[in-house]
Symmetry: C2
Subunit: 316 residues, 2 copies
């Protein structure tokens, strides 16, 4: 396997699909996951273990985990809202489990009807479950702090609250924490400051990943700011699929294609073949004819003669 | 006047309007320029002194210069393709003249039917003309190197060629050089490298401005990379109006609103009131009903409680 500098985690099958009305057929999802993995995408969040009545779009997550696990070398990730979800995710055989903990308690109550303390209790139960497993079967367990850069309900979220939650997640037994710009409020200075502060709080190697949105057009600028702080994992969604259903027109996750283009051009290896990745959009376009796909690079095309003559590192 | 860290030059009335089919009525252009100046935009490129048969959209540039010059404190800029244009621009009374010099000779021939040497000769004639004026009436004269980051016709442009052109422009008597990512090919590493190299070639204070496009979604990431290299002036276009007519769907200039949002949130003063600026879009929407306006911040809105609690500098 080639060297990878920056790990891209494709979250379209989870964050993209949960945000749209259309339900993607299981076979198309499998084809999507297989195609992205074939392009070199190292990790895919294939779904979320939530009750099907809440998110019918993701009802087949267990089947997708089974499928994705047949792909050599792919890290199969899933989101879980609670202990029950984690139980199902582990039963299905995921390699990585992420539980979102909303920094805004108002948002946490609205989203999962649980206070911070109740969420930390869930985390502890999940950790206890994972520790019953033989080491080789234990998934990596991430606590993802959502609305970390501000909340559409509460507004600014104090840094002290993020640090307290990050500590609580680590003390409860998570392997790592992540920060999610759920609302698209993050800006480069905020990224720099919060990443530094959280790394200082929990340890340099315990915050490696960010989940960024492009809601206000700063997604890739935020990535750049995060790279300067040593972040090495970014979530992204093919075609920018999805986004916040409560902000119509506002785009959602950063676009995988655009992110790969930027990193490639900076000489940062992602292991992903961009030209092949661009072709995977066809699977989405065909399976989701009613949904918009985003992305600047797909629209404009690659520069003439790319990549030869276009790879420039930022630092001399 | 308040401190300004970063100067934004609004180029929509020139680069935006030259790239669309609709012709904006003179009164609407005047209203647009006045409204942006009232928001605190310090410099506006009001048009281009080209023959009206080539760009009928910009036929009223001289009248716009006259109008804009009545606005206290506003720097009134215009583009000129050649000596004749510069003569007219100076007669009209602009504060700043920019002549584009395409780094790609193929593009230069296609665009203005002149070789590099012929363009440098034009520059020299313009400099001679400017030096006949009393010092207080001399406009600032910038040589803007276009297709500096790659050309849709030639592909990659060697750095040595850019450095040679930058030197030639300075030797011909320009006050400063600028770099234009005409094709939207620039990436953060390329920005860092080329800005460093050109500053080294012509002097730190002779390259202060960039003209960036968002064609591949990297516009604001490129701004961030440029800020790290000491760039202090950025062109931008309200509503991202225009863009390259030969790349349909690909967005054009970076969006003024999104740029102001990013800089504001980083604690970098632009002197521009963003909430007022967002209202100026109405003038464009009403005067150009057939044209698309872009911009993520306008679409998504400002964060709840912005700007309080959202201003974070990137460096500690």
């Amino acid at each position: 396997m080639n060297r990878i500098d920056i790990e891209i985690s494709e979250v379209g099958p989870r964050d993209g699909l949960q945000s749209i009305k259309s339900i993607m057929p299981l076979d198309a999802k499998k084809a999507w996951i297989s195609a992205e993995a074939a392009c070199g995408v190292p990790e895919i969040e294939v779904g979320s273990f939530v009750p099907p009545r809440l998110l019918p779009q993701l009802a087949d997550t267990a089947e997708l985990v089974a499928h994705a696990r047949t792909i050599d070398g792919l890290v199969v990730a899933a989101l879980v809202p609670n202990f029950k979800g984690a139980e199902n995710a582990i039963k299905a055989g995921v390699h990585k489990v992420t539980i979102p903990l909303s920094a805004s308690e108002t948002h946490s109550m609205a989203n999962v009807n649980r206070t911070h303390n109740q969420m930390i209790d869930e985390v502890k139960k999940i950790v206890a479950l994972i520790r019953t497993l033989p080491p080789e079967r234990r998934p990596r367990f991430e606590g993802g702090i959502s609305t970390a850069f501000g909340c559409t309900l509460e507004g600014p979220v104090p840094e002290a609250k993020i640090l307290a939650l990050a500590s609580a997640l680590m003390e409860a037994g998570c392997d790592e924490v992540g920060l999610s710009d759920t609302t698209g409020y993050a800006t480069p200075g905020h990224i720099a400051r919060l990443v530094r502060a959280v790394k200082k709080e929990v340890g340099e190697d315990r915050l490696t990943g960010l989940h960024l949105h492009n809601t206000r057009g700063l997604g890739l600028a935020n990535v750049l700011a995060a790279l300067d702080q040593g972040i090495t994992t970014f979530d992204a969604s093919l075609g920018g699929l999805g986004g916040c259903p409560f902000a119509p027109g506002a785009s959602g996750n950063i676009v995988t294609e655009d992110l790969v283009f930027m990193l490639d051009a900076m000489g940062l290896k992602t292991g992903i073949n961009l030209e092949e990745l661009l072709k995977v959009r066809t699977i989405l376009a065909e399976a989701l004819p009613d949904e918009d796909l985003f992305g600047f690079v797909p629209e404009a095309g690659l520069p003439k003669g790319y990549p030869d003559g276009y790879v420039f590192q930022r630092h001399p």
